[in-house]
Symmetry: C2
Subunit: 497 residues, 2 copies
């Protein structure tokens, strides 16, 4: 008796899903728990699991099974989506040879290590050779994958983070943004000028109380601590697996504001992972759709919800109780002033939501030119500084605050940056749709009721997993494809009224 | 060009080694970090990695490679040891069919779950059916493996924990112990009687200070925190991997004595794992030899070293400083009285070193009879209580404090118990050998210098990995095979002089 090829594939990909979950926990452990001396051993463990996954995907039987299943597609639409995701994973695994995989791993590791010296030394030349070497391998990978995926090389790289994303989509979106954002920024800066220097609440904020506050708000947002954790790490992130979501933050005794907003941001990611469709657990269709929607969920929570006036009104008394203080700095008005400060700066990760897109546009243009070969690595610092001048009218005083600031390229990650701004734009579009459906939603936020927002996202975004394209999920949820209108209205409403 | 079969095997087993390390970290995480709701998912991850290892070992190519390599053995003795360990792993993996593996996993899991109800309910009947079912599968496994390993079924089970161990070896050792221990115990009890009730130091011992004390002593013993951690878990254990050793303990604010000795015990395990031969990392020969030597290392540290008068003299002032107290209970004499109290009791894990072997002998006799079929599961409670009466002259008032106390059998673990007492005996033999080589070693301990002891163990035990048999390692290290003489002298010296 011949087995249904689709069913056989489900079993094979289920194995991959379980191994990827094991890797997710090991990655979390590496960032949060692992002692410094065992980095090499951990890398070997993770590489071995990578290899096991690759072997499953490169088994010629998988190719036969996929071809058979595709010629007689399974009946349900969801299964067909799962089958398409299976194929996508298999293409990514098979598009490049084992030699190139090994060369990329080595070159990434070397370049990243060199970057860790070059950045504090503020010396781009120290890393330029390694970056050049890595870039040429990434170009090869992009070309190999582009052929299999039938897209352009840069698109093949984006496909790793945001499946199916095209250069044209990004260009349209970014052109739209640049059509209004520079003037809008100018207006915001003019409006904020009288406020002068704004500093966040400073004082002594014990870490255990900051943690209590974080746990309280995470719980309010629907984070279930029987299925997840909050820990500390140098670089905050959301890791783990859907039934064991682990977010991290870092604390400073002097200030709670960054850590608090960071926790809320990661909670948005966590809710997405947590609510992925259970019935597709460990299957490709059960994974989060892509980084654009993922970022939309963290930014929906952080930017749309938690920096809203209503939310800050809600937490101001909570903060005062937590820290047993009545300081003026903890009033809603002070929190608003702090959390809404707009200022062009050199550093992307410190940027406010108005200037952030400029940072992304810059990186998008540059990485596209690097991949196409139009820009040489040696010309990167100048290209960066020119773009900063054009976009934000400031020039980084050094490469540390310029082209050396982000780890992405130096670790081989090209094609990721656009998803940050896609996420920000999608978040605005989603929150606008939620407000259309529940016109009184913001009154709820004022009293700490977020249930309608999270439930809406759960149903319309999270539970969709990878069963639909990003575009379809957004259209089904908000009634329109990704576009900058809601984002524009959001910025205008928040910063100019 | 044909590749050297041994070299090919090394590559395959290297993969297994890396995956086993990943599992070790996931196991640690499960006990220490994992939130309660994700047990099922973690079990699936671990089972998948088990399956990957099994597939590597069951690949028919491995059989061919092993046969080729064995017919033209590699030149070095160490490589031949590694090859023998490869074969042993392959035999264990192939001796029983996939159906039986699945049935065993299910039956263990069911029986253990039922035991978790039966023990608090004090109701053996609640779990007897599940135990009977599990036992018959374990018997099948034992028979299957015995055939391949050419040994007796119970020996095949012991082989999983202590390779090559025979019933005859155990019988000789346990007969030797029983020849002197009952009378010795009587004498000790008579000598200790005037002391009356001894309770450990009680009071308020803040957990962070207990942890500081533990870290200090671990560091003194050579534990390197750049390559390991100390955490908390319900059941203390030593996990992780050689470059990332993770031990756990549990604390009570009311008393520090159990936790402290527990940490020192696990530190003994940790030093063994840490010092395994680096050049055999991820190969079978690079693993710890077996549970007997493993337990010898934890008991060398805990029983031989840390309950010695010299050590307690060394830590008494340290404890006083740590807890900022001059209480009499923290004097050396009080610590000695507490840590040397001998008393027959029902519970193995609470037993002192004089009565502990009786608990092990009891379990050894019973589990051997269960596996051979001479003892029926339904007769287990009576057999247990009879044996307790014969050995320690006490009868458990209920099965909770009798045959339900240990998890081992109910989770499918048979053949493990003897290694506890082998370890205790070996520890005495090893410490005696160290003292012969360094007659002034105990003076060093008095001042907190343990370097000669740990270095001796590192060279003669830890660095041997699985390159020699347990027996050879002990003979090379101590000049004699495992025997009870040093243990007898140790007990006499500590408790009767």
């Amino acid at each position: 008796m011949t087995q249904d090829p689709y069913k056989v594939l489900e079993k094979r990909y289920h194995r991959i899903g379980a191994i990827k979950e094991a890797q997710a926990i090991l990655h979390w452990d590496m960032a949060v728990m692992m002692p410094s001396g065992s980095a090499e051993g951990r890398a070997a463990q993770l590489a071995e699991l990578d290899l096991v996954i690759h072997e499953i995907l490169k088994d010629p039987e998988i190719e036969d099974l996929l071809t058979m299943a595709e010629s007689e597609p399974p009946i349900s639409r969801a299964q067909r989506s799962n089958l398409a995701e299976m194929r996508r994973m298999q293409i990514h695994a098979n598009a490049i040879g084992a030699d190139l995989v090994v060369a990329l791993t080595e070159a990434s590791s070397k370049c990243e290590m060199r970057w860790r010296q070059a950045k504090p030394a503020n010396d781009f030349k120290l890393v330029s050779k390694e970056l050049q070497n890595l870039l040429s391998l990434v170009q090869k990978k992009a070309e190999g994958k582009a052929e299999s995926l039938r897209c352009r090389p840069y698109e093949a790289l984006m496909d790793e983070y945001e499946p199916g994303l095209t250069i044209q989509e990004i260009d349209v979106l970014f052109d739209d943004l640049l059509a209004f954002l520079p003037k809008l920024l100018e207006k915001v800066l003019t409006k904020q000028q009288p406020a002068g220097l704004i500093v966040g609440p400073s004082g002594n904020f014990p870490i255990d109380r900051q943690r209590d506050l974080a746990l309280t708000l995470m719980t309010r947002l629907g984070f279930n601590f029987e299925l997840g954790r909050l820990d500390m790490s140098l670089h905050p992130f959301c890791g783990g697996v859907p039934e064991d979501i682990r977010i991290t933050t870092r604390y400073s005794e002097e200030s709670f504001v960054e850590s608090l907003m960071g926790v809320l941001h990661e909670t948005g990611h966590a809710l997405y992972e947590r609510n992925l469709p259970r019935e597709w657990r460990l299957q490709p269709a059960g994974e989060a759709r892509g980084m654009a929607l993922h970022e939309s969920q963290s930014l929906l929570v952080e930017m749309q919800l938690c920096r809203s006036t209503e939310f800050l009104e809600f937490i101001s008394p909570l903060i005062k109780t937590t820290f047993d203080s009545r300081a003026e700095q903890l009033n809603t008005e002070s929190l608003i002033a702090y959390y809404r400060k707009v200022e062009p700066g050199f550093i992307r990760v410190d940027a406010d939501e108005v200037t952030y897109p400029f940072h992304v546009v810059l990186r998008y243009n540059i990485e596209k030119s690097l991949i196409s070969g139009d820009l040489l690595v040696s010309d990167l610092p100048d290209a960066w500084n020119d773009a900063m001048r054009n976009l934000l009218d400031i020039v980084p005083p050094d490469d540390q605050r310029g082209c050396l600031q982000d780890i992405h390229w130096f670790s081989g990650s090209f094609g990721y940056f656009p998803t940050y701004t896609m996420g920000a734009v999608a978040a605005a579009q989603i929150y606008a749709a939620i407000q259309r459906e529940y016109p009184d939603i913001r009154e709820g936020v004022r009293t700490g009721d977020f249930s309608k927002i999270t439930e809406w996202c759960c149903q319309k975004i999270h539970r969709q997993g990878s069963l639909e394209s990003t575009s379809n999920i957004l259209i089904n949820a908000t009634g329109e494809p990704l576009n900058a209108r809601a984002f524009q209205r959001h910025i205008e409403a928040r910063y100019l009224t």
